[in-house]
Amino acid sequence: MPFIPHTETDVRTMLDAIGARRIEDLFDEIPAELRARALTGIPAALNEMEIGRLMSERAARDGQALSFLGAGAYEHHIPAAVWAIVTRGEIYSAYTPYQAEASQGTLQMIYEYQTMMASLTGLEVSNASLYDGASALAEAALMAVRAHRKSQSARILVPRTVNPTYTRVARAIAGNQNLKFEDLPYCTEGGHTIVESLRRYEGQDITALVIQQPNFFGTLEDVDELTDWAHRNGAFVIAVVNPAALGILKAPGQWGERGADIACGEGQPLGVPLSSGGPYFGFMTTRMEYVRQMPGRIVGRTVDLEGKQGFTLTLQAREQHIRRGKATSNICTNQGLLMMAGTIHLAIIGPQGLAQVASTCVSRTQALVAALGAIKGVRPLFSRPRFHEAVLQLDRPAAAVLEQLAARNILGGLDLTEHYPELGSAILVCATETKTQGDIEEYARALGDVMKSVRAA
């Protein structure tokens, strides 16, 4: 019996102690007519050797293509030490640190994480993770509505340069509490949000403005101007940021004159493998004054009864297990393991390393845009400075081009047609520090070939 340690004697002794004849008797409170038949739809058990072989074959089948995909999940180098440590049993197989004295390892790591994230975003307090970047935006919007006591409208302005999936997720989650997410147009020249487009909201009750930096197109927003506009007009600023980019980019807490009020985003670039989309971790930081409106777990430093320093979960009155229907969020299980991977990643890579990763991303992407932009029929869109993504307009159907690239084992980028039909045939490409000059040339060569063989629409 896999994973069950009972011997026949054990079972006998235990049943005798209970005073039951058979294990089956222990289920006698379940109405007989409800009892399940055999689960014929489930295959017979595989042993570890068999499942190992099956999984190895399936993993190998999906191959390892040369990928220029980004759009919210980014391929970065992860120090080998990160996953060697977080998969240690004491981290991997522990629960949420409810028993603080027996969970100091987890708790101290969270405290260290909170410190790093607060500093990285230039804000004062961090929670211990949310599910992912997209749902973190939903939570940030809900939090803004709670925290912004002067605003009644629950109207959230969301530039179209924000990751469109994030906006969808925010609607799906926060829409149920009647939050309204309103689109803001972008500048088709620069690929960014312009303050002029906000003019028409002046004088209205707007709860918050969302600003993503770098935005979904990879271009940089005028975060200072946008932030100041929001604050002048009585709106909160919710920053959606890539934490790896914050190695060089201005911290949300320093945006404009007063800084963003809430920062959130996807932690995946910090030590978390792509792995088909998850598990990743969402992060959120804010000012101390809003900490009681923040969702998610928070760890504080305190002392034990001998005065020795220790760590414990704190401000639990915000949470569902105490406050139930009045909690700041329903979140319970979060993404602890990934958050700890992020912590170790940041500790190993350090401030300079993170800055180097970020700058390398910028210059690799510049090289990529230069190489691809030189191909006939490929036109880089948007004039603004970029982080590590760029939009390319193609004079052939994007889907067909990408498909032919994939057949050569190159994942050429994301087809933007669904989300941005106004851009025509366009793709979003990305180059992180993992892409060498050789990789870029390989892509350029392949794209050059493919652009010749795909017919214009």
Partner: protein, 485 residues
């Protein structure tokens, strides 16, 4: 046994440069976009980081090192195979937006996982995207709302929740914009049917039930509950946190539930990772199929493909940036394949055997079961109300003292309606010797409570820290390290 903060190991200029991407390249970005000062990140060597985090890890209790009978959390053995095979380079390296042609191996696992979860729950459709139990609950209640709304039944915004419910239930209902109506449990631990009848009505969107409940007993009148709620036009939500108790024995779908979430990180043994990640896959009955959160995985001929907005136009939408916690789902898939059809009911059987054995032995030893006349499910409650009154020791004191015995404490003070409670869930992967060790420890602590209660009140004594001052933590918020200037 304490460990400095990682920042305290740092020195300006120290770094793990083998991790740097290469020669520093000028990025040429305008200054207005750039940060003024570097962030407060540790400046340590790779060895310092490895040593620090390895030492920190040793300060934790975990399944891999201790018995961890945390009620409602199903802390069972996380087979190492699940981790090893889910972390094969081919799975780790796959981009979530990669084309289906480059993901058939992964998609096959996801499709088969959906199918297995349907079978084991008796539901008609499964979506894997919710990232934890609470998000599964959210998806479920959102579907219930979408269902009523689609029928034009706009008044149904009340969610009924028993008083024993987990905090996420009412919190979720609120998050979905619903009103929570709480109903009491009977002294025997069942739902109070009269109260239920009095509560249902034209505003009833649905009821959220955990069965077996968090009281550690099976809801015997589930058929009646089902009839009352359905007759009133509401739907039934099943909180699957306790699925381990009934796996392969009785299926939520057969009990008449319309929607359920599963905690794959409990029943299907994916690791808890010190707080997460989890997966709260949801299963639905026929009538909720159109509303499932996306993406789903479909199969056409021999090819697997994503089903998204176009395929499920009435979906409540997306709940995550991509498709949920893929790596967790892979681990659950591996675990389920290793259990197989014959292994599923065994889980419930031995989890239940262990719980009933412990309950019997503890009550024989003089402890009070909260629901003494009942069978334990996979967990049960001991109440220390009597000890609190007569000896002035609390459930928390017992919990902390258990740590000194090398045993993680059970869940304390939940469910809220049982005073001074310990919710004890041994799981099926623990051996009788470990259960006996727990029982012996409880007996020893009880004796100590009678003879030397200060030992309990000042416990733990052998952990890296003594009992921590939670009040102070709450009052003097110290949430980040601030380096001396």
């Amino acid at each position: 046994m304490t460990e400095k903060l990682i920042f305290e190991y740092g020195k300006p200029g120290r770094a793990a440069t083998a991790q740097y991407p290469g020669a520093s390249v000028p990025h040429g970005l305008p200054a207005k976009f750039l940060r003024a000062a570097p962030p407060l990140l540790p400046e340590v060597s790779e060895l310092q980081a490895v040593r620090h985090f390895t030492r920190l890890s040793q300060l934790n209790f975990s399944i891999d090192t201790q018995f961890y009978p945390l009620g409602s959390c199903t802390m069972k053995y996380n087979p190492r195979a699940c981790n090893q095979y889910a972390m094969l380079p081919g799975f780790l390296g796959r981009h979530p937006l990669g084309p289906e042609t480059h993901g058939q191996g992964f998609l096959a696992c996801m499709f088969e996982l959906q199918e297995m979860l349907k079978e084991v729950t008796g539901m008609q459709g499964v979506s894997l995207t919710p990232m934890a139990g609470a998000q599964g609950e959210f998806a479920g209640v959102a579907m219930i709302r979408a269902y009523h709304r689609a029928r034009g039944d706009l008044e149904r915004t009340e969610i009924i929740v028993p008083d024993a419910a987990h905090g996420t239930n009412p919190a979720t209902a609120a998050m979905c914009g619903c009103t929570v109506r709480e109903i009491p449990s009977t002294p025997a631990g069942d739902v109070d049917l009269d109260a239920l009848r009095a509560t249902v009505g034209p505003r009833t969107a649905g009821i959220m039930l955990t069965n077996p409940s968090t009281l550690g007993v099976f809801e015997r009148h589930i058929r009646e509950v089902e009839r009352i709620v359905h007759d009133a036009g509401g739907l039934l939500y099943y909180d699957g946190a306790n699925l381990n108790a009934i796996l392969g024995k009785v299926r939520p779908g057969d009990m008449g539930f319309d929607v359920i979430h599963m905690n794959l990180h409990k029943t299907f043994s994916t690791p808890h990772g010190g707080g997460g990640p989890g997966s709260g896959a949801v299963g639905v009955s026929q009538r909720l199929l159109p509303f499932m959160p996306i993406p789903l995985v479909g199969k056409e001929g021999e090819r697997y493909r994503w089903l998204a907005e176009r395929d499920v136009p009435q979906s409540i939408g997306r709940l995550s940036g991509f498709m949920g916690n893929a790596g967790v789902l892979l681990r659950a898939y591996i675990y389920m394949r290793m259990l197989g059809r014959e292994g599923m009911p065994r889980v419930a059987e031995y989890a239940t055997l262990n719980a009933n054995y412990m309950m019997k032995r503890l009550t024989d030893a003089g402890f009070d079961a909260a629901y003494p006349g009942r069978r334990a499910s996979h967990e049960f409650i001991i109440t220390l109300k009597r000890q609190a009154r007569t000896l002035n020791v609390t459930a928390m004191d017992f919990a902390k003292r258990l740590l000194d015995h090398g045993i993680h404490a059970p869940t304390t003070y939940f469910p809220l309606l049982v005073p001074e409670c310990l919710l004890i869930e041994p799981t099926e992967t623990e051996a009788k010797e470990d259960l006996d060790g727990f029982i012996d420890a409880m007996i020893a602590i009880q004796r100590e409570a009678e003879t030397a209660p200060e030992q309990l009140k000042s416990a733990p004594h052998t952990m890296p820290v003594r009992r921590l001052d939670d009040l102070r933590a709450n009052k003097h918020l110290d949430l980040t390290f601030k380096p001396a200037a």
